[in-house]
């Protein structure tokens, strides 16, 4: 007996049996030499086939068919709705176009980002948004929201207090005061446009500023003296634009035997003004007499 021969013969007889071409008896008669081994197998196969020979209920079949076709229609409708006409186009047909579109979009995005960065650098003063830095110790509103007059008024008040207390006035403060006064003078280019009360307040602030600065000028020297001089000029400019004349610092009569005593140079000394040096009759310079504005 060749290996696998029984399996071959069994399969041949089984196929004939299941397809209804031959009965078990007919198959056994075809293979008489195998009858002893084939018969029990074919009988068992006959029994198994009979057990599995079940017909599905017709109503089940019909119901299933209706559901199957309905599902097919639903899928077809969904495919029509969600698939564009190009759905049948193979991917290698649209892939290059898709890739090109992605590249173009990426390039545009890159260019836009680059241009925006460049613009941001070039016009940063105008267009950039500066981050807000909280300065909790600062109680006064920021300078940008104050008018020049308000800034001058505020700084003059600070200066007055410092002079009264005999505190040192920093050069930086004097520079800020000069800047504020200059801005105030610029804002008074057309004094006729300025409200009366504002004019009065400006005259008052500038006069006070002028007097205080004059009192400091006596003791100053070097860079501080130059800054004071510039601040005085700015205050004077304000008064000039408002048609007011700054009052000169009253002269102090020198003591005949007085010898110059050194005073701390950078400090502002409160009134009474300190004893001037050898030039006892010298008046603080400059003492411009501006022409009336009107």
């Amino acid at each position: 007996m060749r290996r696998g021969e029984l399996e071959e013969i069994l399969e041949e007889c089984l196929s004939a049996l299941l397809e209804g071409r031959r009965s078990v008896e007919e198959s056994l008669s075809l293979y008489p030499a195998w009858r002893g081994r084939l018969e029990p197998l074919l009988r068992a196969a006959e029994e198994i086939a009979a057990a599995f020979d079940e017909t599905p209920p017709p109503q089940t079949r019909e119901r299933g068919l209706q559901r199957f076709l309905e599902a097919a229609r639903t899928r077809h409708r969904l495919r029509e709705i969600f698939s564009p006409p190009s759905v049948g186009v193979p991917w290698w047909r649209w892939a290059p176009a898709g890739l090109a579109a992605v590249i173009v979009i990426a390039a545009l995005a890159f260019l836009s980002a680059t241009l925006m960065a460049e613009d941001g650098g070039r016009f940063s003063d105008q267009v950039s948004v500066r981050p807000y830095i909280a300065t909790p110790e600062r109680t006064a509103p920021p300078a940008s929201v104050q008018s020049p007059l308000e800034r001058v008024q505020e700084q003059v008040a600070v200066l007055e207090e410092a002079v009264r207390q005999g505190e040192t006035v920093e050069v930086g403060f004097l520079e800020e005061l000069e800047e504020a006064s200059s801005e105030l003078a610029e804002s008074l280019e057309d004094p006729g446009e300025v409200e009366f009360l504002d004019r009065m307040a400006a005259v008052s602030a500038a006069s006070k500023e002028y007097k205080l600065l004059q009192s400091l000028q006596v003791q100053s020297s070097g860079y501080e003296a130059r800054v004071l001089e510039a601040s005085l000029a700015a205050a004077e400019n304000v008064l000039e634009k408002l048609g007011a004349t700054p009052e000169p610092e009253p002269t102090v009569s020198p003591e005949p035997t007085a010898s110059p005593e050194p005073t701390a140079a950078p400090t502002a000394t409160p009134s009474p003004p300190p004893t001037p040096g050898a030039e006892a009759t010298a008046t603080p310079s400059p003492t411009p007499v501006p022409a009336p504005a009107e």
């Binding site: 399996e7 068992a44 079949r61």
Partner: protein
């Protein structure tokens, strides 16, 4: 079995069904529904499960038929792979619920008389109980050959095995079933001497 229409007509029907032709789909359903039903009944042993799973198999076919390619396998082999996967899925669910093969209470086949129905039920139950003890490959070969009516070649393709291997498995499965059926007390005689 593989009837004559399968050789030439099946390809045309399947191709039309893949294109969405409703009548072709209906024809495919009619041709394969009894075989799928019997296969699932043989694997599950319960007509109610068989009905539900058969419907599910055809819905899966609907979803997958566009991906079917002739060069890979005959349509029947492809279809019964889907059926097998559905059975395995269902078994897994039932396994999680601790359910074993239920034996059906009745087989609602209109064409049979009450006595024949009972006899068939008992025969099926006997075979199912015997088949329960077979290895999975043998159970699958028996179901595909006897219930689904696939040829050895189609069974081999459906199981990704060689035809010789399928024949050997088939021989062993029949011999084992015969042995077990002979050991059990016969509760009925089919009347086929």
């Amino acid at each position: 079995m593989s009837p004559g229409w399968e050789a030439g007509g099946e390809r045309a029907i399947v191709d039309a069904a893949r294109a969405g032709d409703e009548s072709a789909l209906a024809e495919l359903y009619s041709l394969y529904f009894p075989r799928v039903y019997r296969y699932i009944l043989a694997r599950m042993g319960n007509p109610y499960d068989a009905e539900d799973l058969t419907e599910e198999v055809f819905l899966r076919v609907l979803d997958a038929i566009k991906r079917f390619q002739w060069r890979e396998a005959p349509f029947s082999a492809w279809l019964f792979r889907i059926a097998h996967n559905a059975v395995v899925s269902q078994r897994r669910k039932e396994g999680a619920r601790g359910r074993c093969w239920p034996l059906s209470e009745a087989l609602p086949v209109d064409s049979q008389g009450p006595e024949e129905m009972v006899e068939n039920q008992l025969a099926l139950n006997e075979i199912m109980r015997a088949a329960e003890t077979l290895p999975e490959a043998q159970r699958r070969v028996i179901s595909l050959r006897f219930a689904a009516g696939l040829s050895v070649a189609e069974t081999a393709r459906a199981m990704d095995k060689g035809e010789g291997n399928v024949k050997v498995i088939q021989h062993k499965a029949i011999a084992k079933l015969r042995e077990m059926l002979n050991q059990r007390p016969r509760v009925y005689e089919k009347g086929r001497a």
